[in-house]
């Protein structure tokens, strides 16, 4: 069981190292299969851990395996340890399983790329980083995994390093994440100072409310940055510059879900700081609305899905923030299924249209690629949360939990979630109708080429098929009014602090289903059947196209002053004081040397005179002294 966890953790790392070391000795295809099989092995390890946990009673399902003492200073000690408990196994299964499918899909998608080996090494490293994050047995190791996830995402977003936009996006993601890393590190410092430990158990300790609030805020900062929630969300849409499977990996299995995992894992401290938990829920609600609105006007197929990710993570934050941890994790799982499915289907579309991502040029693909259409439809229905697809089961229970939290805040969250459902239906099916319905556009007729029946096509199609099936059946695991195995499974790690009543469940289900269908209907009326003209409200459109001016605001608030300050320091401080001082020092030394060098006439007589003078002076000294 513990060995399964270690295998799960290390096999992607081994693959990453092997691909790196192997270099050109490995064929490109072999690198891809190596990375994929390492994920399969990791998944097998995760399953082994899962089965191992099942053999224990529910109260006895936590095992920490320490390889060695990693850091030891004074009374503080941290081991290089992995934790095997229901939560980490849950995440391991998602990360290794969905991650493995995405890596497999990459074999087809990246076929023919110049640097496939590098790509697969990065992918394996990414999966390893995420597994390290979810398996780490203490917070310091979690922070290491956290940083490595940031590094891997940086490498993969900037994978096409010849594109300046990709490099800029990679830098943006890294910097935004670094902000979260920093706040998290500060929280950990505070924990060390107050609790002298970074084991997960210390979080349940008795802290003053200030300390609890600060620690929770620091952790929330990390979660917000990693999960692309307002106000640190601007990196996520830009991260679409990476290859499509990378987007799928970032959005579905790894990275953005890390924030939700972190909150659930450290829920003890959030329960001591309810205000911060409310902030988390509020940020989630704000994000789900803002992202949903922005998604309405995006014209890049991947960006629409990216904003929908932000929106769905917003739901998870609402769930985690109000203390409905199992529901947040459950939504995380179903979201991993259908979001990976959507991204991979979008990848197939992009692939078939020779790397075109602009949906205005697409249309009518339903006739040309019916299977892809069905897969995308399944993913979209799951995303909107239509019965019986996966999203239906998980999203509604979060809304019910918000209702159960009660109070004005709870109902605001609930209303925001419902509004988000409507928006989800609208933007998702806008995308679906624009891309797949109607007559094939001129661009599509010219550029479309169907998949063949080779390895490439199979490695594209089979993972999509598996995820399509999962998106249909994956949600049936838990239907909160009647059965909830996920909640039972996670109960020992993260006991939910809200329990919705039956009427709240059913109300939420009915309303969200209704609103989702309304959204779909509106989308159909506008984009599918063209019965209604697209509403044009100039200022709203402008605001949405500028993504609520977040980037512009950050430019004005941080970038411009930083550039101004840097320029000022360069011209006012560095140039005169540092750069010139070196030159001046050299000049002065040379001038001084020139003066001294005049004494070096090169004439032996001068030197002899100097010696004689010295002798004379010394003789006088001796005579006087003696």
């Amino acid at each position: 069981m513990v060995w399964g966890a270690w295998i799960c953790l290390l096999s992607p790392l081994v693959a990453a190292c092997a691909i790196t070391v192997g270099g050109t000795h490995l064929s490109r295809r072999a690198a891809g299969w190596l990375a994929t099989s390492s994920c399969v092995v990791a998944f097998a390890g995760a399953v082994a851990s899962f089965v191992g946990l099942l053999t224990h009673t529910a109260s006895d399902r936590q095992f920490i395996s320490t390889a060695w003492t990693w850091i030891s200073g004074g009374r503080y000690q941290s081991g290089l340890s992995v934790i095997v408990d229901p939560l980490s196994v849950f995440m391991m299964l998602i990360v290794a399983g969905v991650g493995g499918l995405i890596v497999w899909y990459s074999i087809g998608y990246m076929d023919g790329d110049d640097e496939e080996r590098r790509y697969f090494a990065y992918m394996a490293l990414f999966v390893f980083s995420m597994l390290l994050l979810v398996q780490s047995g203490n917070l310091i190791l979690l922070l290491a995994g956290w940083g490595m996830v940031g590094l891997s995402s940086y490498l993969l977003i900037g994978y096409w390093h010849q594109r300046p936009t990709a490099v800029a996006a990679a830098k943006k993601a890294f910097v935004m994440n670094a902000i979260g890393d920093a706040t998290m590190a500060l929280a950990l410092f505070l924990l060390i100072q107050q609790g002298n430990s970074l084991e997960f158990g210390v979080l349940g300790g008795d802290f003053s409310s200030t300390v609890a609030n600060l620690v929770a805020l620091g952790l929330l900062g990390g979660a917000v940055a990693k999960s692309a929630q307002i106000p640190l969300h601007t990196w996520l849409p830009d991260a679409m510059e990476g290859p499509t499977p990378v987007s799928a990996l970032i959005h579905a299995a790894t990275m953005v879900t890390a924030g939700v995992y972190l909150i659930v894992r450290t829920h003890a401290i959030f329960e001591q700081a309810p205000k911060v938990a409310d902030v988390a829920a509020g940020l989630g609600a704000a994000t789900l609305l803002v992202a949903g609105l922005i998604a309405l006007v995006q014209v890049d197929i991947k960006r629409v899905i990216a904003y929908s990710t932000m929106s769905q993570i917003g739901y998870m934050f609402v769930g985690a923030g109000i203390g409905s941890y199992p529901n947040a994790m459950f939504h995380l799982m179903t979201h991993a299924f259908f979001k990976a499915l959507l991204f991979m289907t979008a990848g197939i579309v992009i692939h078939a249209l020779t790397d075109e991502q602009d949906i205005r040029k697409m249309g009518g693909l339903r006739q040309l690629a019916p299977k892809t259409y069905w897969a995308f439809l399944v993913g979209s229905l799951a995303l909107v949360g239509i019965f019986p697809f996966a999203g239906f089961f998980s999203k509604d229970s979060i809304l019910a939990a918000a209702m159960a939290k009660g109070g004005a805040f709870g109902y605001i969250l609930w209303a925001a979630g419902l509004a988000g459902t409507f928006l989800t239906g609208l933007y998702t099916f806008r995308l679906l109708f624009v891309v797949f319905w109607g007559e094939p556009s001129a661009f599509v007729r010219e550029h479309f080429h169907p998949l063949g029946r080779d390895v490439v096509a199979f490695s594209l199609a089979i993972p999509v098929g598996i995820l399509g099936v999962l998106s249909v059946v994956g949600g049936w695991i838990q239907f909160s009014p009647w059965w909830h195995p996920v909640e039972t499974w996670l109960q020992t790690v993260a006991e939910p602090i809200v329990s919705p009543a039956s009427w709240q469940e059913w109300t939420s289900i009915a309303l969200s289903l209704l609103l989702g269908l309304t959204g779909i209907g509106v989308a159909w009326a506008i984009y599918g059947a063209h019965r209604v003209a697209v509403p044009r409200i100039a200022w709203a459109q402008r605001t949405l196209e500028h993504k609520f001016y977040f980037d512009e605001a950050y430019d004005a608030l941080f970038y411009a002053p930083a550039v101004f300050l840097a320029n000022f320091l360069r011209r006012g401080v560095e140039q005169p004081l540092i750069a010139d001082s070196g030159r001046d020092l050299g000049d002065d030394t040379r001038d001084l040397g020139g003066i001294v060098a005049r004494a070096q006439t090169g004439l032996v007589r001068t030197y002899a005179l100097a010696i004689a003078t010295g002798v004379a002076v010394l003789a006088i000294v001796f005579v006087i002294v003696k």
Binding site: R605, A612, V615, A616, A619, I620, V623, K626
Partner: protein
């Protein structure tokens, strides 16, 4: 006593003549503008010094002075001067330079300091000289010293001479082959 005082007067007279010849020829060596005359002045200087050495009972050194110095070394000097031709140089041309002023001051200071030291600090010990026996300064005496007490100094001196001889050969041999191969100066 009378004989002794007569000898003393004689020695004084010889000393005065030799000393002044010595000083005069020394000044002459430094002040002649032609190296040829300077060299001749140095021969006079060496000869008068040899007389002074004799007065100090250093017979072997006096002989060596005349034979080696005034004989061999000065002959070499004169050969070289004759070889490259006597070139005149007027040391005081163009008025006193700072180098000339410095030279006067430094050498004057050295002279005055030595005299002051002799006169003020050491006159007590210098007024009485040891009595020596007749063998003092003879070749036999020097030879015994060289081969007993000062054997090491003797050997080192021979090595110095050997090195100098080799150096002279190297310098001369290079300059004999071609002007380009002279070690750069």
């Amino acid at each position: 006593m009378l004989i002794a005082s007569a000898g003393n007067v004689l020695v004084w007279m010889v000393w005065i003549v030799a000393a002044f010849a010595c000083l005069g020829s020394g000044v002459a060596v430094v002040s002649f503008s032609s190296p040829f005359y300077s060299a001749l002045g140095l021969i006079g200087n060496l000869g008068s010094l040899a007389v002074l050495y004799l007065l100090l009972s250093a017979e072997f050194v006096a002989a060596a002075q005349v034979l080696v110095y005034a004989g061999a070394v000065m002959v070499m000097f004169l050969f070289v001067i004759a070889y490259i031709g006597p070139r005149s140089e007027s040391p005081w041309a163009g008025g006193p330079s700072w180098q000339a002023v410095g030279a006067v001051l430094a050498s004057g200071a050295v002279f005055i300091e030595i005299v002051v030291v002799i006169g003020l600090k050491a006159s007590g010990q210098l007024s009485h000289s040891e009595h020596v026996d007749g063998t003092f300064g003879t070749p036999a005496y020097i030879g015994r010293l060289f081969l007993t007490d000062h054997l090491l100094a003797f050997e080192i001196t021979s090595i110095v001479l050997l090195v100098a001889a080799v150096g002279g050969v190297v310098l001369g041999a290079h300059s004999r082959r071609s002007a380009e191969e002279v070690p750069s100066l």
